[in-house]
Symmetry: C3
């Protein structure tokens, strides 16, 4: 049998040897011809939500029978359980800290197992600070080479829940925030194409978006829809609304950071707001604060 | 058939999942046993010239039948064309933004194709912001598995031109600039061994080089030709003249940045300049400004 | 024969194409199906000791017949010799600058060879600044594909020595220092579980540790043994005592850097010290300075 692909998503970085140690353990089980794909090892330290975000951006393009290891694990050594789950033919392996439900979103696991069968650990006395190497890597390697999930430990029915913090949608518009700033300074919001989807094409073009120091008009198709150096809102390749600057770094230029509020106002509302204000001269964007991000909403 | 090696050169970074998504798409076409080599994903954002520079530094050592994907794409979503070309048995895939001519230098493509056959895209409705995933990655995977270039789209005869900005050579010397600063602080100039090649070995040793706050004597064989902590000019492994500090960070120590002018004066010229100045005491390096880098020269 | 795994540990970074050029050369010898594992390319520039540290953290989990290339090479181009060694079935390839003895610790090489057989270089005229590409990469690839070590050059009996700087152990306690700060801000000391091993479990719990601005009590099993945000000393997965903050960045929060002294005082000593001082009020940690790190001790 061709071994299944194993993907790795961690916050271990590429400077230290943590990721390499996980791969070494995988190879010791599955052979040096194991199929490995680094999704990212540069997830912000202990940022479970970012880990889910980066893996979700890759998931649709990966083989359905892949084994995904996600180790962003603020609680390593504490009572949180090591788990592996199966959805259809896909496996996920990692700490039971909410990251898997975030990745699955609406999907329900077909099978959940607590990784308590020590026969499948690297050693019977695993490090208390590095379960990635001693529990998760060998579990993934065994799954990739055909071991049944049920062999790895005890069945359970529940995972620790953790939900995406959803934007607030009302008559006036959508209030969300920035969940990720990529290396180009593009700012990804938690507002999806679906949230914005009920707008007609013409409404979409007249929507006003307030974020950082910018007031944007409309949701566009691509960065190049605006002039060089101008800010623009687009539906990003991941399906989320993204704030960018054509040819520039939006985070720096517009003063946006992870967590910054984003207010998307439907055209009519904004116009009435404009006339309510009744001012001449330059229009002052009126701050509408998103409620504090509630990650456990 | 053994699949061809696919190399990836992008400015996507390794923190986000962009590079992983490209690899996932390649695997979905060519299988998880696809041969992949990351040249760099840390090209400075939107720096087409740096992308060409890093790929060229690897190209001579790679199999001749490799497929090279280069996605540094400031114009994604605009009218610039997605292309693939063939030179002998080697393929290059990327946006038609000048990067391929930079890599090829004097070589002429044998075949150029606009990637407009949607059958070979990941989807008929590609993202407007991520052609790397939706157009370039599948094109490379198809080429690696034996699809003929001609099948991927319409033939064309021209590529968007972009040339290396060449140094200015005259009787007095060579005026160039810094095109790249590596992680050690070594500063790569756009002056090649060829430009400096007409000097005799003795002239080469007496050449004076002005760059940042430094005045260097001679082009040396290796960093260790000078004392620890001293600046030195060498012919780097890439064939370009490089400014370094033995055991130190030349960029920081000498105040050099990408774009800094570099003036290489032939020995005789410099000596006459020295006596013209007719000053006693400490010699003042006289700034000779390179003309502004003209990347589209 | 299945080719042996080749691991790479360098300070070349992932932005430049140096690591990619080494892999390209390996593939040109061993084929594109060569088995490669990046241990780290982000070793701090020219930090031989960090290179040894990261490779040692991976070594126990790798196949015994692997070929390990370690290129952190401040002396490239100088008289230092390029070498390869064999210990049992494992090979190491790199500059003879002390890194290999650091990795081997107490183990003795079975065979040492100076890589002076130019037939196995990439070219007879290697770059003076990039032996990684021109000498070490091809040597590793040849070893991985079955070439005998003895063919690569002349036998020799000695390696340049370089030893771990060991902590000082006396009646009062152990005086060491921080040898590595990882991306989470965890601070690895040069004090191993063995040094601390003679303490009883109860003594271990009452041990006082002074480091940066912190005074810690006891060596714990895991970060989660203390409250969120509290500092803690644990035995890390690498076997070294590590200073961490549960859920936080110890280096920043406690003002610790690479080279910072760490003083571990046995419980009785500390108590007597406390009463000797005879002060009321808040206890003042009394600085006990480690001798300057002596890396060639």
């Amino acid at each position: 049998m061709q071994p299944r692909l194993i993907t790795l998503t961690t916050d271990f970085g590429v400077r230290d040897a943590y990721a390499a140690a996980m791969k070494a353990v995988i190879m010791s089980v599955a052979g040096t011809h194991a199929r490995l794909l680094d999704v990212s090892h540069e997830v912000a330290p202990q940022d479970v939500m970012e880990a889910a975000f980066v893996l979700r951006a890759t998931l649709p393009y990966l083989p359905a029978d892949s084994v995904h290891v996600v180790v962003v694990d603020p609680g390593v050594g504490s009572a949180r359980r090591p788990v592996a789950i199966r959805v259809g033919d896909t496996h996920f392996v990692g700490p039971d800290n909410g990251v898997i439900p975030l990745i699955l979103d609406q999907q329900k696991p077909d099978e959940i197992v607590v990784l308590d069968n020590r026969r499948f650990w690297r050693t019977e006395e695993p490090s208390a600070t590095f379960h990635g190497r001693d529990i998760f890597a060998p579990a993934a390697a065994h799954l990739a080479t055909g071991v049944q999930l049920g062999s790895l430990g005890s069945r359970t029915d529940v995972l620790q829940p953790l939900h995406w913090a959803l934007p607030i949608v009302d008559d006036q518009g959508i209030r969300g925030w920035i969940v990720h700033v990529d290396r180009f300074g593009n700012c990804v919001t938690n507002i999806t194409a679906d949230h914005a989807g009920e707008l007609t094409s013409s409404e979409r073009q007249r929507t006003k978006i307030y974020v950082g120091s910018a007031r944007l008009e409309g949701i566009h198709r691509t960065y190049a829809d605006v002039a060089d150096g101008d800010p623009v809102a687009v539906i990003a390749s991941t399906g989320f609304v993204e704030i960018a600057v054509n040819g520039g770094d939006a985070a720096t230029l517009l003063g946006i950071r992870k967590g910054s509020p984003v207010n998307l106002l439907y055209a009519d509302t904004d116009e009435s707001r404009g006339s309510d204000a009744g001012r001449g001269g330059e229009e002052q964007p009126q701050a509408i604060h998103a409620s504090e991000p509630s990650h456990h909403a």
